[in-house]
Each structure stands twice: as structure tokens, then as C-alpha cells.
Symmetry: C2
Subunit: 450 residues, 2 copies
């Protein structure tokens, strides 16, 4: 039996926590359904070399390792195991480089989105992934391939990470990619590690692509009489070349919940509200106020022709507040973030309502209409019934050409559904890839698949 | 010993070529240094099921398999082996779907870029990867992660492929990804297969992202007195938010060669030519002629402030001809398409000139300045000297944080350099991944690594 006390030789006594010194925060993430778990120890490395030594020790002693950034994940992927250690990146939280010639930032995994946003704003650049929780860490974002509302314009984490320093379970340190947007020089290990939820390697540095920060924008709210109307408008808006930064749909129940919870008054008259079953929220950004105004006028003309009930340009404060409120949790029993081809959203949601209704559950939502990522809140207190409903709702989406998770990941909380829905040949291949990286199976065992 | 004649049972006698029926085209690609090779047989499948049966046969009999699209590759990755078979995708050349709601095309591997461009133009969309050879196939583009001049705005093949139907060496058929831009549902097999040069799986269908086709644009030629001036201008242009579709540099030797070879008169006066050591070629596109004009004026102001000698808006014909001529081969003995961080281009090219000069070689070039992809033509008839020069030129780029190939791939022709330069731990990991996909090692053995 390995003695975790040996790890003090790597990180020092002060950064090895055991027993009651392990605070509750380390035992959970923000998944609604997961059970908190206390690990054998929490280890706080200060460097890539520390991480390499920790992982070599773990492989030598066959001790499971779970990595943790800010703990804001929604699928249980950073919840430690009782027989394992938790590697917490809170001491590796520096922006190592902000390179304004190559438009990249090099960050440690504990850097938060908020921290990076402040630093990039100062030089007129932006890291464009906004998954809705600015305390989230970049390490966690890389592990889950975090997305968010701006994916319709900029893509997700996968599209911004140009390179990694990654530590294998054996302690070998790899450098992948670099300060360039493309290469064909062997297999793309960067892309393979992104979204692997800590099961293949631990990223200790990430080279991130930055973009020019657009400082002129408008938030536009468009009520539609039907969800089909919203769905039909989406390809037309994207196809127009207006390049919305955000293109969200919100159903009327969710809109009513978030506006009342946030005390938001958006200026939509009662008679319009009464006829609106779904809303589009569009953020347009451009290089000058003139262009934003022109684009807004063009959008208004387009959606009006497509059956919108009206068009409201929200005051800056209200627009930001709506976007923020849209991101908040809502007291549901479980959440789903399935992705489907965006044109399939109306059919999918009507199937979801049938499934929900048959089980006496309430399933409501909103989502990234531009990229087909549907966020559903499931209200069903009975765990067995809920599990069945969630399984059916996910299966229905996959049957329409979708995938189980658009951005939250599988973790421990969605893996039973993935196991039931996904092609076993693909899961077997993933297991063989896992073994190629981590022969002893110590990296986050039990996440994604068993 | 397996009898290749058995393959007629899968594709029919007419689509199994052996002996003298194998035309010379099947024996090579467009790599300058590779030796043509005749395979045991050429097999022309008509379907995913055909490909699955062929690969199952190959694995059962341990016969190497090389895939071929249009044969326009530049690294030897589709040159067959004498003891293997060549799978040619010429019969799988249909655009299976053009989905204007989800903005995707589903294509077979033999579809050419030209064919896809015509089809997408008809619906106001564009597949934005233009690697410079429109007869190239999408299957080949996926295998090499093809890039090209528009990568600065749109990214490369990797950023456009949303999903694949891929056949493993065992004959298992996998479907990865889908009609959506993001998912976190296990490892990203789509991204892993892209750029793997036929060594992991054969793609038989690809789901491609389409974009709105911008129909208003201008080509702008900007001479600079030094290459450093060009390099300093690039981050300022990208940072301006003007979003150039193309941002190329051309050195004065290459500019002179391509304009005289193509008989192009660009209207640059002799005195300006005499002082210009490097040129930027910028293509701006937008949604209206007014915006293109505004953007062009802003670009002109910006580059003038940054030391440009002058600014020429090329007539549409000349602009297109320059872009096309820039893509042509040029009688060199070898070509290099290394990528470096874009800000390192001047330092890199000065190191390249030192290496070239010391060996009595001529190395000239141009490149995708926006993304650091440097295309060099190496003139050195002695193979041993040339190999040494190419090795040094590549090592110098990697030492600056670059990668051996930006878009041509490694194939058979650059693998000795990759083996010498790349971290052995990474190559070992890639070999283990290869084994996870292809335990018998039949898929394009000898490409990327031995």
C-alpha cells in the first residue's frame, strides 16, 4: 500500500492535505446529481515538474488521480475517488505570456476565465469562450472542451487551444502544437487531449488563440409565435453573414422564470408576451457603432419577414443582465446539454415534450440555437423515473443525429447514458486509446466510461 | 500468401486492376522527391461496405493498404507499396447532401474541391478551404488536414470537418461527430483521424461545415522595403478586426518569378519594385461593396503608417491571377511548408538564408503570413546536400516553436526529418495510438513514421 505522505516530498507538507484538512470544496463540483467524495489526499503542485512527479508516483503505486481546476464542472468529472488523490491546480494560476504579436496567451490550468478576460481586455484582445461561469479555470475548460453562447461565432475551447504542455500518467511531459493555428506533423495530440476530462493526460500549460476584441455591439430580443419560427430563422440569420456573436433561443417558460428571478424588465408589452412561445436573443458586434446599427436594421428586417412578433434592442444593462440570468442554475433536478443538428431543434423539443408528459415530468429549456446545443432542465424528484426520462430524452436526440453532451461533458454523471446509447465499437476504441496514454489506468478512472 | 484476385468478389472484376492495367497515375502523387511505386492491385470501391470488406480482407491477410483521392498530395502519403493494394476513391465522388438549414455538406472522399465549390456557390454558401489545387479530393484534404491561403480567416480542414464515417483496419465502420460544431461526448475521434494521412482509418463520408459566401471583395498588393516591415504589419492587420480572407507574404525573388512566369503586370512602378524586398497580398471580403471600400481605405491607412511603399488595389482579374500563380509549383528540387509563430517569420527567414548560403543552395519563398506557414522552394541538385539543408531548415523552425509541416503533411518524404526532430516520447505515443486503431499495421505503413 502506497503512503500518500510520500507526496509531501514533491509538493511540501503545506500542500499535501489529508483527513480533516481536506475542505468540503474539494469533494464535489456543480453537478446536480453527484455524491461528494473525500479523496485520500489533496495535492497542490506548483509546476509541471511537480505534476510529473505526482503522476509517476501514482502510476508506480496504481493510485487513481483526479484533476481539479475551479470545480465548476457540471458532470462530476473532477470529483475525486475515495481510493485516489486529487490534484488541485490552485497554485498554478499564472498567465505566463500574453503575446500580442502572435495573438496568443500561454496560461497555467488554474487561471480563471475572468482573470484572462481582464488581462486580454487591457491589450484589445479577447479569449472568446464564455461558458457562463467566469470563475471556471482554463484547465477545466480544456478538460471539458467548454463552449458557451459565443460558439456560434468563435467555436468552442477546441478551436482556441493551439498547444499544450501535458503530463502523461507515467510522468512523461509532452509539448503539443504551438503558437500557430495549423500543423500536419503527426497525430493531433492537442485535440485528442481536449475534452478527454482528465482521463488521458493532465494539461499544465495551454497556448490559447486570442481574437481582436470588438467593442461595439447590441443585444436584440425577438419574440416569435412558435419555436418552429425561431428554428427557421436561425439558418437565415447565420446565412446572412451578419455573424452574430450570440444566437440563443429561450422558451417562454424559461424566459418568464429568468426575468422574474432576475427582476428584469425587458420592455416587451403584455400582449406580445402572451403570443410569444419562444424568443431569440441575438448579440451583434462589429467594428463601429455605425456598422452595428446597420446590421441591427438588417436583422430586424430579416426576422420581421420571417414572422417575428416584434424586435427589441435592449438597453446595454438589460441585455447583459438577460445573458447573465440565462446562464444561472434554476433549481432543476437534473440538467441536459445535448446537441442536435440545429434544424432538428423543433422536432426534437416536441419529442422531448412527449417524453416528459408521459412520465409526469417537466422539461423546459433554452439553448444555443446557432449550434444546436439544447439546454434542458428536468424537474422530476423521483430518481428512477428521472433517470429513465433523461435516458429517453438523450436517446431521442442521438437518434436525430445528435450527441449526448455539447459542452458539459460526460464525467461520472452521464456515462451510463453514453454507455447505453453510444456504438460499443467506438467506446472500445476509446478504451484502447486510453490505454495507449495511461497503461496503468490511473487518470480519472470511472469518468466517461467504466 | 493472399490472392488479390479475391478482391474482385467485393468490387467486381472491372474495378480490380492488376499488372499492366494499373496506370502510371496510380503510382505517384505530386511530391518532388518520391519514387513512383506500382502496387499489387488497385481496388475501386463504390461504397462504405466495399471499403469495410476490403480492409477486413487486408487485415486478415496482413496486406498494406494505401488510400488515394486525386493524387495531388505533396508528401508521398498516397504512394502505394509494392506489397500492398491501393484503394482509389474515384467511384465514391458524390455530394450526398447539401443541407442549407444546418449549413453542412456530406461528401464522399472522391469529391473534388472544384465540384464542391460549384455546388455550394449555387446556394450562396462556401466551403472555405482553398489549398490551391481545386482538383484535390476532400478525402485527401481530410487525410492531410489541408490548409491554404484562407486559413487566416476560416482555419483549415480540421476546423470544417464536423463528422466522419470512417472504416477501421478491421472493417468496423464508425460514425463520428455530426451536423454540429461541438460535442464533448468522449474522445474526439474526428479530429484524431483528420491529418492522420491514412494511417488510422479510411474516411468514406465527411460532414463539412459551410459558411455564407461573401461576394464582395478586393485584392490589395502592398510592397514593403523589408520583410521585417511585412512581419510587423501582420499582427496589426489581424488585430484591426478587418478579418482578411487572405494575408500572404511573397519575397521579391518569388514575386518576380511568378509575375514573369504568369505574364502578370500588376502596375507596380519600377522604382517601387526596386525598393521592395517583400510584398503583402491581402484579400478583404465583406457583405457589400461599400464595406469593402471602407475596409480597403482603413487597411491602406494602416499599412502606410507601418512603412508600406505604396498600396495597389488590383483589378479583379490580376488579383485572381496573382493568387493562382502564387500556388503554382516552380521547378524547385524540394519544397518545405514549415509553420512557425508568425512573429518569428523574419528571424526564421534570416536563419534560413544563412543555412542556404553556407551550403551553396538557393532557398526562396512566400507564405501564409497570417498563420506563420512558410513555403520555401529549395534549389539544390545534390540529394545529400539538399537533405542536409532541408533538415537544418526544418530544425531551425522547430527550434523557434514551429512544426515540420503546416499543411502538406509528413507522408513518406518528410518522415526522416520528423524522426530526427520530434520528441521520441510523442512519436512513441503516436505509435501506440496507431496500434489502438490498426493492430495489424496495414493502414499506410511507412507514412508519418516507421
Amino acid at each position: 500500500m502506497a503512503e500518500v505522505s510520500e507526496l509531501a516530498g514533491i509538493v511540501g507538507e503545506a500542500h499535501l492535505l489529508t483527513g480533516d484538512d481536506i475542505g468540503d470544496d474539494y469533494t464535489h463540483d456543480e453537478a446536480l446529481t453527484a455524491t461528494p467524495q473525500r479523496p485520500l489526499a489533496v495535492v497542490r503542485p506548483a509546476s509541471t515538474a511537480d505534476v510529473a512527479a505526482i503522476l509517476a508516483w501514482a502510476t508506480a503505486h496504481a493510485v487513481p488521480v483526479t484533476a481539479r481546476g475551479s470545480g465548476t464542472g457540471l458532470s462530476g468529472a473532477c470529483i475525486p475517488r475515495a481510493d485516489g488523490i486529487l490534484v488541485s491546480f490552485e497554485r498554478m494560476a499564472d498567465i505566463l505570456e500574453l503575446d500580442t504579436d502572435n495573438h496568443v496567451a500561454v496560461v497555467q490550468p488554474g487561471v480563471t476565465l475572468h482573470q484572462l478576460d481582464e488581462a486580454t481586455a487591457a491589450v484589445g484582445l479577447v479569449y472568446p469562450v464564455f461558458p457562463g461561469e467566469s470563475s471556471a479555470s482554463l484547465g477545466g475548460n480544456v478538460a471539458t472542451n467548454a463552449g458557451g453562447m459565443r460558439a456560434v461565432r468563435y467555436g468552442v475551447t477546441r478551436h482556441q487551444v493551439l498547444g499544450l504542455t501535458a503530463v502523461l500518467a507515467t510522468g512523461e511531459v509532452l509539448r503539443t502544437g504551438g503558437k500557430f493555428v495549423k500543423a500536419t506533423s503527426g497525430y493531433d495530440l492537442t485535440q485528442l487531449i481536449i475534452g478527454s476530462e482528465g482521463t488521458l493526460a493532465l494539461a499544465t500549460e495551454a497556448t490559447l488563440r486570442l481574437h481582436p476584441r470588438l467593442t461595439h455591439g447590441a443585444t436584440i430580443l425577438v419574440p416569435f409565435p412558435t419555436l418552429e419560427g425561431v428554428a427557421a430563422a436561425v439558418p437565415r440569420i447565420v446565412g446572412s453573414g451578419l455573424m452574430p456573436t450570440i444566437l440563443e433561443y429561450i422558451d417562454f417558460i424559461t424566459m418568464s422564470a429568468i426575468t422574474s428571478a432576475a427582476g428584469l424588465e425587458l420592455g416587451v408589452p403584455e400582449d406580445v408576451k402572451a403570443g410569444a412561445l419562444a424568443y431569440l436573443v441575438v448579440v451583434l458586434e462589429n467594428r463601429s457603432d455605425d456598422r452595428v446599427e446597420e446590421d441591427t436594421a438588417e436583422l430586424a428586417e430579416l426576422v420581421t419577414a420571417l414572422g417575428a412578433l416584434d424586435v427589441y434592442v435592449l438597453p446595454p444593462g438589460a441585455g447583459a443582465a438577460l445573458i447573465e440570468a440565462r446562464e444561472k442554475a434554476n433549481g432543476a433536478d437534473d440538467i441536459i446539454d445535448l446537441v442536435v443538428p440545429r434544424a432538428a431543434i423543433p422536432q426534437y423539443l416536441s419529442e422531448v415534450q412527449a417524453i416528459a408528459g408521459a412520465s409526469g415530468s417537466l422539461v423546459v429549456g433554452c439553448g444555443h440555437a446557432g449550434d444546436g446545443n439544447v439546454h434542458l432542465s428536468v424537474f422530476q424528484p423521483d430518481a428512477a423515473v428521472r433517470s429513465d426520462v433523461v435516458g429517453r430524452v438523450l436517446s431521442a436526440g442521438v437518434a436525430l443525429g445528435g450527441a449526448v453532451s455539447g459542452e458539459h461533458g460526460i464525467g461520472t454523471e452521464k456515462k451510463k447514458y453514453l454507455a447505453a446509447i453510444e456504438d460499443p465499437a467506438k467506446l472500445d476504441l476509446m478504451r484502447r486509446i486510453k490505454t495507449a496514454f495511461d497503461p496503468a489506468g490511473v487518470l480519472n478512472p470511472g469518468a466517461i466510461f467504466d
